[in-house]
Amino acid sequence: MESTQVVIIGGGATGAGILWDLARRGIPALLLEQADIANGATGRCHGLLHSGGRYVVKDQETARDCLAENRIVKAIAPNCVEDTGGLFVQLPGDDPAFFERWWSAAQAAGIPSRRLSADEARALEPNLAENILGAFTCPDAHVDVFRLVLANIEAAVSRGAQFRSYCQVTAIDAAGGRVRSVSYRNTRTGEEHTVACEMVVNAAGGWAQRVAALAQVSVPVCCDKGTLLVLNHRLASRVVNRCRVPGDADILVPAGPVCLLGTSSMVVPGPDGLTASGEEIQSLLQLGGLMVPSLAEARILRTFSGVRALYAPPSSAAGGRGASRSFALLDHEELDGVAGLLSIVGGKLTTYRRMAEATVDCIAAKLGVQVPCATQTTPLRPVLSRAVRRRAERLLARPVVDKLECRRGVEAASVVAAIEAQPELAELVCECEMVTRAEIEFVLGSAARLPAETIADVGRRTRLGFGPCQGTYCGYKTMLAGYQTHRWSSEQAAREFTDYLGERWKGQSFLHEGKQLEQLDLSRELYGEAPCAGAEREAADAK
């Protein structure tokens, strides 16, 4: 039986942050994730690195935490962060008193902000509605959620930590009031394993209750669903917030070449089987259009939904937006007499590191490790050497090199070496996001610290398929790359691709009109109506 000291369950930002902090402090750990990185709330949010502006009126403490972490994440993970800055815009019809309260609260919390007139705001963001009354600036930013989770896990793996994707936890052995081992199943191979451990951290977000039940404890979480839209190009170069009590569709976040609009809020029974309804989407567009009217004409690439897992102990009555956004670290030794089990729930993407710090402080205390937290000052990855960058610039255009460096960090050296050996690998397989063949082969290969298992995994590691074609062309080429590098047999490759397409199509399935529907139709024409039918389509009486 394999063994380690700490098993973390859940590969979102929190789990990844914990793995890194443990590795940094020299504590051996294994992170188990039932799907791929950021499968839960982390991978289904705006990717907004809050300045705290959204909480400053109601919850100064959270706002201050956000601001502090905002600065830290920018410092430790600059490759993951687009420091776009943000605006809080005042719309006619919104409460003017709230606007003033925001300003004084922001000052009190120390959020750097300037007051702008409507004209000044529109000079910065020409797509803002004509009738806005004014705006405040703030240091909001966009963080690429997949890159952030990847950076944490890769940094941890470099220091000896372990990560397994597609491994679902099936049992937690806590007989006798003490955690002993965790059993898990590889969902792709069916293999079952058990790992002995001293501590288990339940960082499973929306699935936290399900994981807790495996150890016969309870972690009540309220699942609050939010739906977002991805738009084909950047309608704003800054984060645009609506300056009012948080509500639906009041955030627009630029994210690479696209932008995200969200979100909605409704309580749902669990984190699985989420769908976005047509009404939700219409509502998002209509409300978002109050801030940025050109949303009505913009091309929607896809929609997705995720749940915020909010800690909802029986004492709190309100779910949804009313529930606290701050996090809760549950020590089940104290609460339930199960030693070695911790659950960390709630919180925000922006404060993931702080949550990890609190968790690992607790773990360290229990394990008798004296090392203090250093993640607030340790960069997640070393800078790519200038020599490698120069070699890359000889082979690839500058924007491609920039993106390669942001995505792969020092691993870019392997990608560059591959291109030097085989120049045709410089071809951009994903032209929308500038991903070379070499990078795709690297990410699929065993040299990567977190190799991709599926085409969607490749997407999360490179943004392949995130653009207008939604994988129609690049997904096919990635399938072939996986086959050519002997990662997949031909049958497995074809299955991977049809699964991938099915998932991509699902995100576009609500569309009734517009350019994306034409793109989707094009994709369906190429590969066949239903995702799995492409290879099997055949006339029954063909001779």
Partner: protein
């Protein structure tokens, strides 16, 4: 003769539009073709699935329409081949077999043939095509259906200056322009074909080649050749498109390329004109009959269009009356079972619309 007056204007140069224009031109009508894009030809060559062909087989003029377009494309030098009774198994992008009843000749010739040892030629360095992948998948599918697995992949070396990145389009362009390259490719394929009865290759055999030229190329290679589907742009489809357009031009069809129509003038139940949205002023054309053969364009032009036509292919207003006596739409009546925008449906719809338009005896353009 007035340059802006025609017997018929066909709007759209996809499968339905080109079929319609060919029908009108064959009846010696003076035709204007408003072309904004090649439609299905770019994607998958306009192949007709056997399922769709079967669904439409009950339609009385379906066979005529298919026969017509096959003849017209053959006369244009780049035939669409069809067999409505015995569909062929054509290799798909994912290495499966699709039942196909109509396809460009090069694609048609790639159909599964039990007795033929088939080499699949692959070119190193192409990210969008893998011969070994296809060979394996096709053989697996063949076995799964109780057929003989006849495919073997062969990598063919090409000259290194074909372009970066190497795409089917770059090779096709070179094929069109460079006789020396054609000879080199033929000899490379000949070598790969040793021991095989035929060779399949990704479609790279030029955007402007004629069937005659390709037959000559095939003779140089020394065995049967077939073309395989690749990611867009679809080379065989564009070849049919280019040659058919050239043939139509040769028959006097005036082609207006690049700008959609943005206005239909309709008065007293008669369509008196169509305006092309050219830069500046636009261009007003008049015709005795106007055939709408674009997917989205019709809806944009006719605000009251319900989306259905009567049996004379007149688009109908909500009251059920034709919007105009001389306006025709290449759409199948809603009663037809197949989805109206499948390729077989497009050919049939274009054919019908043009036949009805040519039967229209009114001289509206003279007004």
């Amino acid at each position: 003769m007035q340059s802006n007056r025609f017997d018929a204007i066909v709007m759209g140069a996809g499968l339905s539009g080109l079929t319609a224009a060919a029908v009108a031109a064959a009846q010696s009508r003076r035709v204007a073709l408003v072309a904004i894009g090649a439609g299905a030809f770019v994607l998958d060559a306009g192949c007709v699935s056997a399922n769709e062909a079967r669904q439409l087989s009950a339609q009385p003029d379906f066979e005529d329409a298919i026969a017509f377009i096959c003849k017209a494309t053959a006369a244009a030098g780049c035939a669409l081949d069809a067999d409505l009774r015995s569909p062929r198994r054509i290799p798909s992008l994912l290495g499966g077999f699709e039942g196909v009843s109509l396809a460009p000749r090069g694609v048609w010739k790639a159909a599964y043939s039990a007795g033929a040892r088939t080499a699949i030629a692959g070119f190193g360095g192409m990210s969008g095509f893998d011969a070994e992948f296809l060979a394996e998948r096709l053989n697996n599918h063949a076995r799964a259906h109780g057929l003989a697995p006849v495919y073997t992949a062969k990598i063919v070396a090409l000259p290194s200056d074909l372009g970066t990145p190497l795409t089917t389009l770059r090779i096709a362009n070179r094929f069109d322009r460079d006789a020396g390259f054609r000879a080199a490719l033929a000899s490379a394929l000949r070598e790969a074909a040793t021991g095989f009865d035929r060779v399949l290759l990704p479609s790279v055999l030029g955007l402007h080649s004629t069937d005659g030229q390709l037959a000559g190329f095939e003779r140089e290679v020394g065995c049967g050749l077939g073309e395989l589907a690749t990611l867009p742009p679809c080379i065989p489809g564009l070849r049919v498109y280019n040659r058919l357009l050239a043939a139509l031009r040769g028959r006097g069809v005036e082609v207006f390329e690049g700008y959609p129509a943005d206005l239909l003038e309709i008065a007293d139940g008669v369509c008196t004109g169509l305006r092309i949205a050219s830069p500046g002023r636009g261009l007003l054309l008049h015709a005795d009959a106007v055939v709408l053969a674009t997917e989205s364009g019709s809806r944009a032009l006719l605000s009251e269009f319900t989306g259905s036509c009567d049996e004379r292919q007149h688009p109908l207003s909500p009251s059920g009356a034709p919007i105009a006596r001389n306006l025709f739409a290449a759409l199948l009546p809603q009663a037809a079972e197949s989805k109206p925008d499948g390729h077989a449906g497009q050919i049939l719809a274009g054919y019908r619309a043009a036949v009805c338009a040519c039967a229209e005896r009114g001289e509206y353009a003279a007004r």
